[in-house]
């Protein structure tokens, strides 16, 4: 598994496409609480987590049930700001953090993208 993390607009998707050679058709972009696990790459995992949190689903339990060994997963690093006042946004941040830690532990490679540049963390 590849895990790509990084702040908003830093070039995570471009890195998956251009450096990890993920074809456009293999890229799934999360918009709600469903994921097409037939695709090689899952982008915007944070939006999947947000939808889960809003609907009372535990995203970590959902992901634990999947075989992610051949996947590339992209998730926004949203962990350096002020604690959100809104309880749901707090839960979003918390759940996304737990998911990232779970994925990073199992990933073969973890990349952090900053200003379009990659750092290999694992």
């Amino acid at each position: 598994m590849n895990l790509i993390i990084g702040g908003a607009y830093q070039g995570k998707r471009d890195f998956a496409r251009n450096t990890l050679n993920i074809p456009q058709g293999e890229m799934f972009t999360c918009t709600d609480e469903t994921i097409d696990f037939s695709k090689a790459c899952i982008d915007r995992l944070e939006d999947y987590v947000l939808a889960c949190v809003q609907k009372g689903i535990d995203p970590l339990e959902q992901l634990k049930a999947q075989d992610l060994r051949d996947k590339t997963i992209i998730c926004m690093d949203m962990f350096c700001g002020v604690v959100p006042i809104d309880a749901q946004m707090r839960l979003w941040r918390h759940s996304t953090g737990l998911v990232c830690q779970y994925l990073a532990k199992r990933a073969d490679r973890v990349y952090r993208i900053v200003c379009g540049l990659e750092q290999r963390l694992k």
């Binding site: 607009y9 700001g81 750092q119």
Partner: protein, 181 residues
């Protein structure tokens, strides 16, 4: 040599960038491109503090809050330049009229062009930007335009820069190239 410096607020980016610009000048001309356009007394106080910080480093101050290429009307391109910050420049260009605060959506593209041209024309340039992309918030459209625009500038500069450094609590994380000696 083009050096791009990013990182969170209050981590020592500006002090490091100042010292680096002086070092790159190797005794030659050094220019501080002042990007802040003061709106109130708080801004003016901050500018006074920045000027005091630079005291003794030998910088010539070039006021240039917009149209960044125009700083060369008052400076020699073979000098060493410090642009602090890309963030302030984009803000000035995004909101050209302080009376209305109307957002100019063409600003990021124009800034990118101006900055890349400047990078191509000067001997040494150190650029400082702000890393504002890792918080758990859903912002309004104007704020997202600003964040997206700044990220566009950061990435464009990082792509052509010789060296990219993230400053964290005064420590340096080398993201690209080598540390200038």
């Amino acid at each position: 040599m083009i050096v791009f410096i990013t990182g969170g607020a209050k981590n020592g980016k500006s002090s490091f960038a100042q010292d680096l610009a002086v070092k790159l000048a190797r005794g030659g001309k050094r220019y501080y491109i002042a990007t802040m356009i003061p709106c109130d007394e708080e801004d003016r106080e901050r500018i006074r503090r920045h000027i005091a910080d630079r005291d003794g480093l030998g910088f010539e101050t070039v006021e240039c809050g917009r149209d960044i290429g125009s700083c060369l009307l008052q400076a020699e391109p073979q000098g060493s330049f410090l642009l602090d910050s890309v963030t302030a420049l984009l803000m000035n260009e995004l909101y050209p009229d302080p009376a209305t605060w109307a957002l100019d959506p063409t600003a990021p593209e124009r800034c990118e062009k101006g900055l890349l041209e400047l990078c191509g024309r000067v001997a040494n340039l150190v650029l400082v930007s702000d890393y504002i992309y890792s918080d758990a918030a859903k912002y309004d459209a104007q704020t997202e335009t600003f964040r997206k625009g700044l990220a566009r500038l950061d990435r464009a500069i990082a792509r052509i820069a010789d060296t990219v450094i993230e400053v964290s609590a005064g420590n340096l994380i080398l993201l690209k190239g080598v540390l200038p000696q």
